[in-house]
Amino acid sequence: MRERNIPLYTLESLKPVKEFDIVGFSLQYEMSYSNVLNMLDLARIPLLTVERDENMPIIIGGGPCTFNGEPVADFFDCLVLGEGEEVMEDIVAAVAAWKKLGKVDGKSGILKKLAQIGGVYVPSLYDVTYHEDGTVANVAPNSPEAPAVVTKRVVKDLNTVGYATKPIVPFLDIVHDRIMLELFRGCTRGCRFCQAGVLYRPVRERRPEVLLKMAKEMVDSTGYNEISLTSLSSADYSCLPGLVDSLMDELKEQGVSVSLPSLRIDSFSIDLAQKVQQVRKSGLTFAPEAGSQRLRDVINKGVTQKNLEDAVTAAFQAGWSSVKLYFMMGLPTETDEDVLGIADLAYKVLDLYKEIKGRRGAKVTVSVSCFVPKPHTPFQWFGQNIAGEFERKQQLLKARLRDKNITFNWHDARTSFLEGAFARGDRRLGQVLLKAWQNGARFDGWSEYFKYDVWMDAFKTCGMDPYFYATRDRNFDEIMPWDHLSSGASKEFLQREYEQAVTEQLTSDCRRENCSACGVCPGLGVEVLDWGNKA
């Protein structure tokens, strides 16, 4: 596009991106930051917010990474914390009003207006100071319009908020080329490594009749023939069996099938999977996350060895023969014994198949990612394993998984290291990002494009230390670069969870059991909506 002098344009209207009033990016993953810069550049929009005046589009970011948007603070005019449905309208109204009045007070005029909208963080209205040791000393607004703490937006009741029934249906094959029916938002199982579990609290379910209506409207408007029941943990939806039945009944005539993207580790999930997928026996995927019971207790993954055995048994009995198991390595308190526990589980699964079927023939895929501690989780203080340690553990496990029926996949430790640095980075990483992009970093999440050396050079040139961000253990009293960005869950709650983790104590799911006092519900004026409980 650069060669042919074509500016980045939108696929729907073929209009140059630069001509829009607002341009939004969804920041799902730290490793996509270099692509954001690249898109801005392709669109011929100056990268830095200070270089853009009121005639340039307003650049907005959303998605989970905004909860520590500091590393991209120099590039975004504002970052929106939390759910978009309602805040989007507020933003558009503010921008429209400003434009109508002739863009009063220029760029800073609109930014100050936007900063007053709940959930909208305008990084340029804050100053950050640092201690000599590099940690954050203070983050404070430099303008009266900016609140000291920006708290996420959350939709109180998903049943009453509008939803997109006419999504754009592209010609090309896209990643989620089907109807995504969101059953509920939030997940309070309380896995301690999980950022989504904190950011999207509390659990709010849609009513089954609303979902059925949405599904029908979307089939009619899109023509898709598959509906995926999405959520952080769809099997937890309180009315799932009934919903699946009615969806299948009512949409069968139109050739529409239903699929479940994630399974819980129990036989209930297997029954459901069997129902929706009929006989398509592609592999089943489970995520025990850790190899030993002790470590699963540390991370509060409420799954026992027995749960897994039951689920796998049910799956084999129902005719499946290949199982995918997802794990992480580098979790707090992890020992080599925990790592090797992953191998034990994999062999256990093979043995179970033999017991049930009387012959060998199961295929087990073990996928192990490198744990990256994320902001706003109980493990936000924990120093990530260094790459060498990950690689040692990977080799340890690899040596133990020598069976031709087991496939072992692992993540690149260096990619995870960089992800870790940016996940818990501060504003000073903006220059590193810029430098790395200038030197050719793109598509860093794709191993074939990942240029580790370019990144390390960029850190060096900027005089920054990636280890300081990724692998350093923090004190509980350290000010985090994201302390002024609130998910509603209190730091005390996160610290309590960390302490319970290292003492291997479990915390229950507030969806159907006791509230664990994370602070979200009273703080944001919302409540758990679970129809199985209270309908």
Binding site: F171, L172, G223, Y224, N225, Q254
Partner: protein, 231 residues
């Protein structure tokens, strides 16, 4: 069971989508239009659609054909109306009819395709163009080497040319009109014909910027040619 046979276009708007994407755009439109389409049996049912011929990425067409197997017959004008409303820009319905009984697949009966290829000229003198086309038309055989991931294969081009290539001079460009046979053992792509023209007959055109447009698909017995909806 009736088949709804449609004559549809692939317009400029969707020049760069693949045949697979074109087919799924049709499938989605059929669902949106609530056409009572039949599905295959089995655990992974497919909509029963069959196209006359696949169109390559970058090629537009004014005459594509698809058979939609229906569980029941909706009034034809109703069906067209609903489909028209459901189709994306770039797909227009130009003809439609129901076909009864067990008829052979479109793919098996269509044996002739006609194309307009528009390509910028690299020479001022139209005479050079005419010469090179005439040499091509008069040649007994023309061989073209098709390269694919599977390897190289030599193909004789002229056996697939139903008629002589005609030209229409345009401003700074030329339009080539090709009639190509589709045989059970294969065919040649219009782009390949142009490559042969440039490579072996020195046709002075900018081959990187050619635009291919299919003008028709026919069932021909050598004398009479009819389109699948005229059948």
């Amino acid at each position: 069971m009736a088949k709804l046979r449609l004559e549809i276009t692939k317009g400029e708007e969707i020049r760069y989508i693949s045949h697979l994407d074109y087919a799924s755009a049709m499938e989605r439109a059929i669902i949106r239009a609530k056409i009572p389409v039949a599905y295959s049996e089995g655990f992974n049912p497919h909509m029963k659609l069959s196209f006359a011929s696949a169109l390559a990425v970058g090629v537009t067409s004014q005459a594509e054909y698809v058979d939609i197997e229906c569980k029941e017959e909706v009034d034809l004008s109703q069906a067209i109306k609903r489909l028209t409303a459901a189709l994306p820009l770039g797909i227009l319905i130009k003809g439609a009819k129901y076909i009864q009984g067990n008829v052979p697949a479109l793919m098996a009966i269509v044996n002739l395709a006609t194309y307009d290829v528009t390509v910028p000229l690299l020479a001022e003198d139209i005479g050079i163009i005419e010469d090179s086309i005439r040499w091509f038309n008069e040649a007994e055989t023309v061989s073209y080497v098709r390269e694919s991931p599977k390897g190289k294969k030599e193909i004789e081009v002229k056996q697939y040319m139903a008629k002589a290539v005609k030209i229409v001079p345009l401003e700074k460009a030329v339009r080539l009109m090709l009639e190509i046979k589709i045989t059970p053992t294969g065919s040649i792509k219009p782009g390949e014909v142009v490559v042969a023209l440039v490579g072996m007959f020195d046709l002075p055109v900018d081959i990187d910027n050619l635009l291919i447009h299919r003008t028709g698909l026919y069932i021909s017995d050598g004398n009479v040619q009819v389109s699948p909806v005229e059948l």
